[in-house]
């Protein structure tokens, strides 16, 4: 039996004001698409940061393909994952073309300047996936917010990672582009066996695409698989007593069936 791509075991993160993450346990197999939802400050981005090896857990372990992530193997194991962090517009406006940015996602990009840059085949393939080959040579600074986000997604995909961590990837995308993105991510899971963990606010938007949804508010209140209903008290524990969830399709994960207006 092969080991899961990711195993998070009893992970806790402390802070002076209390626990940020409390006894988190998750297992993600190859090809599994997991959505993580939760209110602001629930620890969603922190959890991705722990999985990506950027924040050390105070207790518990993160394992990748059966190996516990630690200082000695960190660099090697992390080559198999890619992270798309939340988009901020306050970074330095570097003069780069779309092609160059996508190339930055390749594993061998960070080689000394005296080595030749990577070949462009993988870069164009990643751009094709996002329908962006026509703007490969455009200046990244001149693109719209949505286009920039798609370039960042192409950068995350270019190295064909085994595990993809996405923090609100649909921010700045219009509804059509969101649907296309989720469809593409679903295809990557099904056809390439990529495991995906995606943090999103809007459960209704992702529910037709993901295999499971983890409800996080410092701890995982519920982990719903496709077709399973999330009990109302879980929603209330996460978002407060006035929350009302409605179904929008038959495959909705966590929705209360038959209560649509």
């Amino acid at each position: 039996m092969t080991s899961p791509v990711l195993e998070v075991s009893h992970v806790c993160i402390d802070s002076p004001t209390g626990l940020i993450l409390d006894d988190i346990n998750l297992t993600v197999e190859a090809g599994h698409f997991m959505g993580i939802i939760g209110p602001n400050g629930a620890g969603k981005s922190t959890l991705l940061s722990v999985i990506a090896g950027m924040t050390s857990a105070d207790r518990g372990t993160v394992s990748m393909s059966g190996e516990v992530l630690q200082r000695g193997n960190r660099q090697r194991l992390l080559k198999n994952i890619n992270l798309l962090s939340q988009m901020h517009d306050d970074g330095p406006r570097l003069p780069l073309t779309v092609r160059q940015i996508v190339g930055m996602g390749l594993a061998d990009y960070v080689s000394p300047l005296w080595r030749r840059p990577a070949k462009g085949g993988e870069i164009m393939k990643a751009l094709e996936l996002l329908d962006m080959t026509d703007i490969a040579d455009r200046d990244f600074r001149l693109l719209s917010g949505g286009q920039k986000q798609r370039v960042r997604i192409a950068r995350a995909l270019v190295s064909s990672p085994r595990l993809l961590l996405l923090d609100e990837p649909s921010a700045a995308l219009d509804t059509q582009a969101q649907d296309r993105l989720y469809h593409l991510l679903r295809r990557l899971c099904d056809e390439n066996g990529v495991a995906i963990i995606m943090v999103e606010h809007d459960i209704a938007a992702i529910t037709s695409y993901v295999d499971s949804v983890a409800c996080l508010n410092k701890r995982i209140h519920h982990h719903a698989i496709r077709g399973e209903r999330i009990p109302e008290h879980i929603w209330q524990a996460m978002y407060g007593s006035h929350t009302h969830i409605v179904a929008h399709d038959a495959n909705c994960i966590g929705c209360i069936q038959g209560k649509a207006p």
Partner: protein
């Protein structure tokens, strides 16, 4: 022009000036990409404290100043990026504190030991053999680090979380960049002095920023602007008998204005062509 090359003083200043132009322009790309101009201001002022220490304890001037600059850069930068201390506050503390320490230490030394005017405003025309050897060694170290780490630094400047998540040792790369920037600052102090050093570490890449697409082009253009500006500046300084460091910085400022104006013209023409 022929007088410039016939002058032994200018001929001996050429190699150190070009070395400084090459290293400063290379690092200036990262100074802009990582927004480190505040660091160069703070560290250049800390150089005075290093020189004060060297004079007080009879240590070699430039190596002691370099060690101090690297130490200050390594101490200051993580303080800023980890705890979010206000950049202005931190730079102000260093700026005033290091200058004050340097002035106190140097005031106690024999006044002939330190060329205070040269320190503040630079003096590339007086370079001892020991200084020349130190400049060559420092330039070698800086360029080796740059060639090795440039792509990593560039990747971190674009998206640090993604770089860290793909296994890049971001903290190590950042500390190396701060140390190398500190060392470059001391080299620049020799040419432009404490007051004008930031100009050498910002202007070359700022000139190139309008034209370069990608790290490679940006670096080459930055080199071109820096070496050209330094040569023209030294020639003007020789012809008009102006201070060399200030003339080089002024020349680079002029080049920046020309580069910015040219970029605006090209942009206007392009948008006019698109609209017709």
């Amino acid at each position: 022009m022929s007088g410039f090359f016939a002058s032994e003083v200018m001929r001996s200043a050429l190699l150190p000036a070009i070395l400084i132009a090459v290293t400063a322009s290379s690092i200036s790309v990262m100074v802009l990409a990582h927004r480190l101009s505040f660091l160069t201001v703070g560290v250049s002022h800390a150089t005075l404290a290093g020189l004060g220490l060297a004079v007080t304890f009879s240590l070699p001037l430039l190596p002691t100043a370099s060690a101090t600059a690297v130490a200050v850069a390594l101490l200051l930068a993580p303080m800023l990026w980890k705890r979010g201390l206000n950049e202005d506050a931190a730079t102000g503390v260093l700026f005033a504190g290091a200058m004050a320490l340097g002035i106190v230490l140097i005031s106690r030394a024999n006044r002939y030991e330190v060329d205070l005017f040269g320190l503040l405003f630079g003096n590339i025309l007086i370079v001892s053999d020991a200084d020349r050897h130190w400049l060559i060694l420092a330039a070698g170290i800086i360029m080796l680090c740059f060639l090795w780490g440039a792509r990593g630094w560039w990747s971190i400047a674009f998206d640090a979380p993604a770089a860290a998540a793909s296994g890049l040792p971001v903290t190590f790369y950042r500390m190396l960049l701060y140390a190398v920037t500190g060392l470059t600052v001391v080299m620049c102090v020799k040419l432009a002095g404490i007051v004008l050093t930031t100009g050498l570490l910002v202007l070359p890449a700022a000139c190139a920023w309008f034209w370069g697409k990608g790290l490679g082009w940006l670096w080459l253009l930055s080199l071109l602007f820096s070496v050209t500006g330094t040569l023209i500046g030294l020639m003007i300084s020789y012809a008009e008998d102006w201070p060399s460091g200030a003339t080089v910085v002024l020349t680079l400022c002029m080049m920046f204005l020309i580069s910015w104006g040219g970029a605006q013209l090209v942009q206007n023409r392009t948008s006019r062509n698109h609209s017709t």
